[in-house]
């Protein structure tokens, strides 16, 4: 369905060329929920935005992204419009900031539907709001973002994402900053949408990832270090970073990972995780490991584990 090969995002900076996203390879199958987890600053959101051509102009994006066999990274500005919304929908991070405060819900939906040449009837809008669990949809349509609670805004942002019926929905941190009860409701709602289309979920919340995904990819310092089916990942993570990330969760032992994540300008040579890794050997310091396939559908970027 969506296949990404050697995707890189580069920026010129005063400290030289930086590469927040580095040679990402992954495939998302039809009706699959694929989750990227990783800590803030690891490049998750940039990766998502690059799939929609939404990066600033000074970003250099290279590699190949195929959607249903069509290469999209080389598209011209106008052709992107055909992809956005119709093929790939996006639920932006932080709906309080991404919704337009002077548009009511009707306005948001109308604009979205019009630009992708979809019928924008009131019935359609009401059914979208119903689908995302918004009660009293007719009254809500005339309300503005500031009149909605955080959870409601998030539901509405998801409704906007699926309004144009895209084949793939990218959801960037859809549960950020929500309380447990609201978070649970959003997760339950997303798991219902799950059977209709592929979802690329981006989150740093392990609970959300566990409950929604089919496959998990772990991102560290710009690259994917492990890809695995969700159950085997949570039973037995293989990459040292993945296992330590799980162990640092409050429901597990809550032991911290020693050291800090490397800055973009000072990435270590060799394996990027080696300064914080208990299994690091000499080889890890000098050579950069590739993402290798081990057993079934699991991929790992580590000399010690492959």
């Amino acid at each position: 369905m969506l296949s990404i090969r050697d995707l890189r995002v580069e920026f010129e900076s005063p400290h030289g060329l930086i590469m927040p996203v580095d040679s990402v390879d992954m495939d998302i199958l039809d009706k699959e929920t694929f989750t990227i987890i990783g800590e803030s600053g690891c490049g998750k959101s940039l990766l998502a935005n690059s799939l929609l051509g939404l990066l600033p102009r000074d970003a250099k994006v290279s590699g190949k992204v195929h959607i249903d066999g069509e290469e999209i990274l080389s598209l011209k500005k106008k052709e992107w419009r055909r992809i956005r919304g119709n093929k790939i929908g996006l639920v932006f991070q932080n709906p309080s900031a991404s919704l337009n405060p002077v548009f009511n819900m009707h306005g948001h939906l109308y604009e979205t539907l019009k630009y992708s040449n979809k019928p924008s009837s009131r019935d359609k809008m009401v059914s979208l709001l119903k689908k995302t669990g918004i009660k009293n949809p007719l009254r809500r349509l005339s309300q503005y973002p500031h009149q909605l609670s955080g959870g409601m805004k998030q539901r509405f942002a998801i409704a906007l994402g699926i309004a144009t019926d895209p084949d793939i929905l990218i959801a960037d941190e859809p549960t950020n900053g929500l309380d447990v009860t609201v978070k649970l409701k959003i997760v339950q709602m997303l798991s219902k949408l799950h059977s209709e289309r592929s979802i690329l979920l981006i989150t740093h919340d392990l609970n959300v990832a566990y409950n929604l995904s089919d496959k998990i990819a772990v991102m560290y310092a710009g690259e994917l270090v492990e890809i695995a089916p969700v159950n085997s990942f949570f039973e037995k993570p293989i990459h040292p970073y993945s296992s330590q990330l799980l162990v640092s969760h409050p429901e597990k032992e809550m032991l911290p990972i020693p050291g800090f994540t490397p800055q973009l300008t000072q990435r270590p040579q060799g394996c990027r995780f080696h300064p914080r890794c208990a299994l690091a050997s000499r080889k890890c310091k000098h050579e950069h490991p590739g993402l290798e396939k081990i057993e079934g559908e699991r991929y790992v970027r580590c000399f010690a584990c492959a």
Partner: protein, 263 residues
């Protein structure tokens, strides 16, 4: 050590002139914190957790009620009482990136509480270095600005600043809400060691139940400005009494990493 009796607080909004509308944010809050324990306050956003913390350090004035710190009434403190309060109780705020002054070097942020105590600059410098060591940072971080450090590092600075004057009670308000799990674990481990080393009492405010379950001795559950339940951690999680607590715990366990229901 600290006792709160029947605290009320309401905010008034005056959108229409001469017609003030007031919203109650704290209603009849009473509890006590015992020496050396970790008391956690949980509740959803907007339930008044932060307002309560602010009342305790005199950043907000309560309408009614009394706050008694080691036998001394600190509800409406005069200057002397205020300085007593601030040497005993310190607070770490939600978001370290915004609670540190962006135009102050890290050194100045850390030195400020010490200078207020009229210590000479040599001592201040010594103590600042000592504090940095305590929180696992090094001298190179001193001459930077908050925006040059990561969220986790800034939170360490905020912790260092709050322990500068050896407080007995530390109030931590959602200090890990903006941090990743691995950094959260680092910060909490740090807080745990400091608490032990310096013999502190901790009032920890959070909305993350899994986290609270791990670190609290006692838990107070807040809903819409009221404490609906307060008990030992084990009791609260295994034998919750109020319907609200039950609901929170069931949501938490449905999202838990050990649950398979949603799949």
């Amino acid at each position: 050590m600290l006792e709160v009796k029947a605290l009320d607080k309401s905010y008034s909004s005056s959108t229409i002139p001469f017609r003030k509308k007031s919203t109650k944010v704290l209603e009849n809050i009473s509890f006590r914190i015992n020496k050396h324990e970790t008391l956690c306050i949980v509740g959803e956003s907007g339930c008044g957790k932060t307002t309560l913390a602010k009342c305790l350090v005199n950043l907000e004035k309560p309408d009614n009620g009394r706050i008694i710190l080691e036998g001394r009434d600190v509800t409406f403190p005069d200057r002397k009482t205020l300085s007593f309060l601030h040497t005993k109780v310190q607070m770490i705020f939600q978001n370290a990136d915004t609670s540190l002054n962006p135009r102050h070097l890290i050194y100045d942020s850390l030195a400020e509480p010490l200078r207020l105590q009229c210590q000479n600059e040599d001592n201040v410098r010594k103590r600042v270095l000592q504090l940095l060591n305590h929180v696992g940072l090094s001298e190179e971080h001193l001459h930077r600005y908050p925006h040059q450090l990561s969220g986790g590092q800034n939170q360490r600075i905020a912790i260092a600043r709050s322990i500068a004057l050896h407080p007995d009670l530390l109030i931590a308000d959602e200090i890990t809400a903006a941090l990743d799990v691995s950094v959260q674990a680092q910060i909490l481990q740090l807080l745990k060691t400091l608490k032990k080393e310096m013999d502190m009492t901790l009032l920890f405010i959070s909305h993350d139940l899994a986290l609270v379950k791990r670190i609290a001795d006692r838990v107070a559950v807040m809903q819409e400005g009221k404490i609906v339940e307060i008990n030992d951690t084990n009791e609260v999680f295994h034998n919750p009494q109020s319907p609200y607590t039950k609901q929170l715990i069931s949501s938490m366990s449905k999202l838990s990493l050990n649950n398979h229901d949603l799949k």
